[in-house]
Amino acid sequence: MKLVTVTIDGIKTEAEDRTPLVQVAQKVGVKIPTLCHHPLVEPYGVCRICTVEVHMRGRVRLVTACNYPVTNGIEVFTQTDRVRRTRKLILEWLLARCGHVPLLNTMAGEYGITEPRFGRGDDTCILCGLCVRVCSDVVGANVLGFFNRGTTRYVGTPYDEPSDKCIACGACAEVCPTGCITIDDEAEQIRGELPLGPMTAIYIPTMQAVPHQPVIDYDSCIHFKTDACRVCATVCEAKAIDHGQQDRHEEIQVGSIVVATGFQPVDAQKVPQYGYGRYPNVFTALQVEHMVNASGPNNGQVLLKDGSTPKAVGIIHCVGSRDKNTHEYCSRVCCMYSLKLAHLVHERSGAKIYNFYIDMRSAGKGYEEFYNHLLEEGCEFIRGRVAEVSDWAVTPMETDKLVIRVEDTLAGLVRRIPVDMVVLSTGLEAREDADDVRRMFNMSCSSEGWFLERHPKLAPVSTFTDGVFIAGCAQGPKDIPDTVAQAGAAAAEAMALIDTGQVELEAYTAWITEERCSGCQICVPLCPFSAIEFNKEKKVSTLNEALCKGCGTCVAACPSHAAQQHHFTDAQIMAEIEGVLVR
């Protein structure tokens, strides 16, 4: 790296040889106006508004600062009369094309232009080419380009048709200095829908994420689509972003394992009568949770699809729970999270809240009190399974509303309740890949797919596999306090196992009587734990009882009656057979 000395408006500084002048000026705090310049793309020098005066070896020149490489000993002046005159002229020319762009008019004010000499044109594009360069150099989509020459030059897409190569990333609109380009969200709805989007491709998954670090969504990130962009890496001062990172598979030797793979929410579309996916203002509880999150994309506002605030909200409990068509079990957490949402939605929007429940299950410390608090808050509770959500208005009151049809089992009549927003309190179900995980750890599942504990009371966090423990919703629906408690228990069990440094073996291991073994070796490959070895000196098979897990497969295979299993000898089982068949 070769350092050169540069003087800008009398400020002496050092910079790397051939750095663009505009960067050096920025470093020392000298402001140079720019239009066609953006740090993410190569300098282009087309708008010429960055014109400055350079004194070098006695020569004086006007240059564009954005693409002028500094050399040793140059002296730069950014505010000389000549510079200001030049910039004024440039601005007047720009106004002659785009006379009504606010940014240009603000700049014109700074240079004392009240009425441009060449008139005011009606265009908004100054042909700076930032959009074209961003689209090709940064995004890599290559959708935008210049067309024609001279006075008829313009920026556009091939044949002026909407291009299917456009990924609607919005980068062109973002960099456009004049606001000439806008993104039509409504038409394409690509950038996420109100009131939940848009999200960027790099984000921190949740407020409580551990580790609390941003992740890149591989499927949405432009870099992984077009190999371009990497804007995030450019702007990250810590240089923490590395797009070249690859998935790594690491093998780690551990003493015990806690499986806490959690749950997945029931897909609300499995209950089609509630209209999720059909009516835009039917949301799942998780979506509303997203909405009310103060640091979420919606800044904690509760909004409808059209951006307005709901006046009445219906919360339907037990969606995908306590239902023969989905899951018969109670998901346990929905009552309380529904109450929390009722409280928050009311607080944020002032809307009237209706809760539709089968039974209120508010068992837990402080839970019943919270329920009572909501009753006092004026939240309405209607006991009954909702039959249907529809947009079919029968009365004028129901026009443009979602109508919840429900049998109010306390009042003993069928009611129609018009609301603006419906929140579905979806239940918890076992993860889709629970079966694969179960196999990996040799565990068992209940018929609903929850991992089975060794014993519901005596070994609630142990599994049928020694050293593998379960915690949280992977074992069954439960709330956060219960999960934390269970996780503590599982961790303690795991620690205890490691801390003891020894494991207790089951008593029902197999053994081989050497005097009977002919060394036929049938048993040797059968053992999944490699507990049997062929002793080449004695020419018999020997069994290491410390490795044996007691399946007895070798015993059943041993044709010599040399292998037997404690507690399950041939004689014992034969006696059992005789026993169960006694008349």
Binding site: S518, G519, C520, Q521, P525, A557, S560
Partner: protein, 325 residues
Amino acid sequence: MADKPKVAFYWCASCGGCEEAVVDLEEQILKVVDAVDIVLWPVAMDFKRSEIEAMPDGSIAVAFINGGVRMSEQEEWVHMLRRKSQMVVAFGACAHLGGIPGLANLNNRQQVFDTVYQNVPSQDNQAHTVPGEHSRMDGHTLELPRFWDEVKALHQVIDVDYYLPGCAPPPALIWAAIEAILTGTLPPKGAVLSPNKACCDDCPRKDSKPDKIELTEIKRPSTHIADPELCFMAQGFICMGPATRSGCGNPCIEGNMPCRGCMGPMDDVFDQGAKFLSAFASILAPKTEAEIDKLLDQIPDPVGTFYRFSLPTSLLHRRRTGATV
């Protein structure tokens, strides 16, 4: 001669090979003849039933009986010999396990008669004549022993003291047994007079057995020539060696034939065929039902293969027939 112990040899449903085995003792048989007084040996000498009947009970020291029990006459004989003898030795695979004739237990008496006297291509029996217990001819009544539905091993008919296994029992074992009897060094009653270890123990091909066998093909001696050095199982041949008692001296293996199981199972094994089946199935490679079945199709007669010598002493003894099969 009166002070020499009396010995009887008798044959039931057998082929006569066991008698050959006695002769195979070669010059050692002279020692036997010196040491004992043979009172009955139908294959070699002429004795009458009445002579044995006339002997006092328990006057014979040892009766060696070969062959399974398949007819009423054989049953009468073995009961009588049991009464007259202090010790009964089941001699050879048929007396020990039921033997090859025991495979008839896959059929009943009627089916055996139909096959033998009616359906074999060499038979021309238009009168449908089959052996009967009583036949009249020219004013005389001819009596034949009753042919049973089922072949039985000796111990299923009478109390047996010892078993000399093998088809036929190897001379070395016979001699060892005779020596033990003469010197009074016999093991406890009910023992099989052969080592309680499987054939693999002293198999000349033992060292060629690989650590892991996973069969994808089952070969038969009739269709494949076996490698003369390699373990038969490793080659894909069904070799009953792992489930068969040793002591035979491995003549089959020496002759490049896999073990067929004539020495019977080890002590405490209830069913030689099932035990071998369990061991053998354990080393098959396929994992799906269809693939397993495809491989097993290569065994045309599983019972005949796994129970070649032991069907009557298997847990089920015989095929049971009924309305549905």
